[in-house]
């Protein structure tokens, strides 16, 4: 038997194996066996007719290539018009949690400004010295974070609404609120860049006026970041409650967000009582990091752990007569 003709037959066989993959065994095997028979007959007939190995191979490959559109159409017809991609909802939730962690990191890595620093004018000069690209990338990342939060909120709501509509709404709303705040923050950032330019090029009373306006914009921007942070944190806590209650993750994992919430509340109490910045920052960061830790563990758990089959919520045992 000729090597080239056999290789061509194998290529066609691999293609058949690929486009019949996932079909019912009867349909899949029938098509593969019928094609295997055709390829064998073709090789034998060619050899009997003294056709060269190369010629049989070319004929085989030609028949294969010309038939590819029909193969694809056949597959689509066998499957029906609906392509049913079933991703278990646990995987969706897990992936979204990981995405949330990435968002945390992106949001946290955006350089901000310190309005408490003496000489806010210096901050504006620093901002003006940044390249346009750096300032645009900054604003772009904040806007992208906003849109990604909307997607995360919508995804989590869609995945969890059948389990707990109220809590799913809270999570979705919280993340969308954070997203809006991020988008507002992005706009404020761009406005601040414009004001920084105006501050550097102006003098006298007008410069003072620009400085006051810029400071107000910067404070508003910081408030949006803080509010966005709390919206995300609250959504994360609600998510932790749903995940624990629905047994999506081990119950013991609920301890992590509880510690996180305690740390954040502690930080708020410290802030209200006028505690030092360093201590406050440490407690707040600890709260944030424990929350991120929970998101990571829960996310990877949902993505990779074997999930038990979902209970049939609509099927209930009949009440005894």
């Amino acid at each position: 038997m000729s090597g080239m003709a056999l290789t061509a037959s194998r290529v066609v066989g691999w293609w058949a194996a690929a486009y019949t993959l996932g079909l019912a065994a009867s349909v899949r095997d029938a098509r593969r066996r019928e094609l295997a028979s055709d390829l064998w007959e073709h090789r034998e007939d060619g050899a009997a007719g003294s056709a060269s190995s190369l010629r049989i191979a070319i004929e085989t490959l030609s028949r294969w290539v010309r038939g590819i559109p029909a193969d694809i159409l056949w597959r689509v017809n066998v499957e029906g018009p609906k392509v049913d991609i079933k991703i278990p909802f646990e995987r969706i939730v897990g992936g979204t949690l990981i995405a949330l962690v990435v968002l945390f990191i992106i949001t946290g890595s955006i350089s901000g400004y310190d309005t408490a620093r003496d000489g806010f004018g210096g901050e504006l000069r620093r901002l003006d010295e940044n390249s346009a690209l750096a300032n645009n990338v900054n604003a772009f990342f904040r806007a992208a974070t906003g849109f990604a939060l909307i997607a995360a909120g919508a995804g989590l709501y869609a995945a969890l609404r059948d389990r707990s509509r109220g809590m799913a709404t809270l999570i979705g709303f919280g993340l969308c609120a954070a997203a809006v705040l991020e988008l507002v923050g992005s706009t404020l950032q761009l406005t601040l860049v414009e004001l920084a330019d105006e501050y550097v090029t102006s003098t006298g009373a007008h410069q003072e006026q620009v400085l006051v306006t810029a400071r107000a914009i910067a404070i508003a921007g910081q408030y949006t970041v803080t509010a966005s942070f709390f919206a995300i944190m609250l959504s994360t806590y609600v998510l932790a409650i749903v995940a624990g209650r629905e047994s999506l993750v081990p119950r013991w994992l609920i301890g992590i967000p509880v510690i996180s919430a305690a740390l954040v509340v502690g930080a708020l109490i410290m802030a209200a009582s006028g505690a030092g910045d360093t201590g406050l920052w440490l407690v707040m960061m600890s709260g944030l990091l424990t929350s991120v830790l929970w998101l990571l563990i829960a996310g990877f758990w949902l993505l990779f752990a074997q999930q038990p089959p979902a209970p049939e919520a609509s099927v209930r045992a009949p009440a005894p007569a």
Partner: protein
């Protein structure tokens, strides 16, 4: 390809004509490669019908009731040391369909509009 109900495609006409040619030669049943070769010989074509085109058409024609099919006896294939063949046979509806489609196909080749005939899926 979208087609009107009952209208035969050119590949289907070619398969039916090829199958009837094989029947006249004494082969009541045919298999994929045999019909591809018969079509090439009848149409004096240079190339064999593509795998995808041929087997998709055969499956469709079976659903339309123009052909019946069965897997051959495994012992026969084993005795001849070859893979199992899927054997097709033209039904009465298939014979009627090709008779009715022949003038239409000829007219189409001559540039006229294709005729239609009644076909119902079995």
């Amino acid at each position: 390809m979208k087609r009107k109900p009952g209208q035969l495609l050119s590949i289907e006409i070619a398969i039916l004509q090829g199958a009837i040619g094989l029947m006249r030669a004494g082969a009541l049943e045919f298999y994929g490669y045999a019909i591809a070769k018969e079509i090439r010989d009848q149409e004096a074509a240079r190339r064999l019908t593509a795998h995808g085109t041929l087997y998709r058409a055969l499956e469709r024609m079976e659903k339309l009731g123009l052909l019946t099919c069965r897997w051959e006896d495994p012992e026969v294939a084993a005795a001849e040391q070859r893979p199992l063949r899927r054997l097709y046979q033209v039904t009465a509806a298939g014979e009627l369909a090709v008779k009715e489609a022949m003038p239409a196909a000829a007219a189409t080749k001559a540039g006229a509009q294709p005729l239609e005939r009644g076909l119902s899926p079995s």
